[in-house]
């Protein structure tokens, strides 16, 4: 089963809800049931958590916060980090940004932003990571197939 969770803060609340309820209602059937669900979410053998982000400032900050929240509130680590929508690398690394071509300049600086945010992620994120490029495909089956292929190719993404 794959659960598409809501955005960061709400996502953690959702995952932490059984634990919260089991702490407030300790005994009885409700307490037992919520404790079981909380255990299921905490158990890395049974439940995997995939964090998806983009290599931009706010999403990276939120991904790092999400990992802290998961550790604090659920006592677990995420299993996989997916960095989505990366501008493709430039084929040449110029010394200076060309001013003659504003589109190329935009591209170049967006990619550089991606790269500096990737560095920030790598500094504190150990564990499996998959990078997915921005693709010229609209939301739909074609895009899903293309992304699935890239996920399957990735050694970090394939073994779980």
């Amino acid at each position: 089963m794959v659960l598409d969770a809501p955005a960061t803060g709400h996502g953690v609340s959702l995952l932490a809800a059984p634990l919260l309820v089991s702490e407030v209602i300790e005994g009885g059937p409700i307490g037992r049931m919520t404790r079981e669900v909380a255990e299921l979410i905490r158990d890395r053998e049974r439940t995997g958590v995939v964090v998806v982000t983009q290599a931009e400032e706010m999403p990276v900050t939120e991904a790092l916060e999400l990992r802290t929240l998961l550790a604090e509130r659920l006592g677990r680590e995420p299993d996989l980090l997916v960095v989505n929508g990366l501008y493709p690398p430039l084929s040449a690394q110029p010394a200076a940004v060309p001013t003659a071509d504003p589109v190329a300049e935009l591209w170049h600086r967006r990619r550089r932003l991606n790269e500096s945010e990737m560095r920030r992620l790598k500094q504190s994120w150990r564990g499996d990571r998959v990078e997915l490029p921005l693709l010229p495909l609209g939301r739909g089956p074609e895009l899903i197939v293309a992304l699935a292929e890239r996920l399957a190719e990735h050694p970090g993404g394939a073994h779980r």
């Binding site: 809501p6 955005a7 709400h10 609340s13 809800a17 919260l20 702490e23 407030v24 209602i25 300790e26 005994g27 009885g28 059937p29 409700i30 307490g31 931009e56 400032e57 706010m58 999403p59 900050t61 493709p88 430039l90 084929s91 040449a92 110029p94 010394a95 200076a96 940004v97 060309p98 003659a100 071509d101 504003p102 589109v103 190329a104 300049e105 935009l106 591209w107 170049h108 600086r109 967006r110 932003l113 921005l134 693709l135 010229p136 609209g138 939301r139």
Partner: protein, 357 residues
Amino acid sequence: MSLAERLAPLVVVVGSGGVGKTTLAAALGLESADQGDPTLVMTFDPSLRLKDALGVGDAARDREVRVKAATVAPLDASLLDARRTFDRLVRRYAPDPAARDRILNNRFYRHLAGSLAGILEYMAVERLFEVARAGRYRRVILDTPPTRQALDFLEAPDRIVGFLDSGALKIALRPWFDERGHLRPTARLGRMGRRLERYLDEVVGLELLREMAEFFQAFGPLYDGFRSRAEEVRTLLAGDQTLFVLVAGPGEEKVADLLFFARRLREAGYRLGPVVVNRLHPEPPPQLPAPGARVEIGADGRRLLAWLGERDRRGLEALRSLLRPEQQLVAVPLLAEEPADLPALRRLGADLASRLG
């Protein structure tokens, strides 16, 4: 007409998460202050760099702080924090220190009250009311929380009033427990009642029920204030002095959501100002790279750039044809870097003002 004349005293920036609402709100704030209106920007969750740029640290969670920009009129900023606002309300309205501490230390309040649906949104409205009543600003620009259903925010006052008037609250407010902490209704039932009480204790825990009852009772003195404020805020949001700016990301995929949101706003009686499509990809010129450019863009890269530019242009065209003709639609191009310092935010604000005409 200048931006200051176009914008209402209260500008509410709405839209889905991740579309740059907070950045645009900050930029509008700078522009408004530059046009001579003392302005306050209320934001929810700015990025670290934006927080630095505005100079709003933790202090901004409790009060308005001055932004260190040499604007014509002063610009202040504040951060909205549901928990702190809730705590502050408790401190202000609790009848005595003992009642205050009872609420603040109540397990139900500490664990659950902050996660109740709509609390974050409601607390934003509460803070807005405090500021509006103080009347220190000629313009307030309100960033809204990044909920998927951004309308939750607008419906928060109605929901609170609905809850306060509902039978559920009256039931919760009944004196359920006697002085010794026993359930009153079951105490009347003799032995069967005691068994029922034991059963309830086993299922949810009497302690929790006691704390819930205590929580609602401790809040008793606050209810009337809540209701009248919620109604005043509803009037404020729907009034002439309020203008909504709807922000969306680019691309055809966003069009349906945006139209839905625009319609819901109008139907709810709010005044919809400009619709802003943010971060539009440029359409690349046919010949790339330009002569002399030192950046090589391969065939794949060129295809992607062309596709993004085309996607965003089509999205904008679709919107233009589907929105009412009199609806103002403004496109803001994707910038090479997110504006996150005061000069860049100011440029964005001035740019936005010129596009708004």
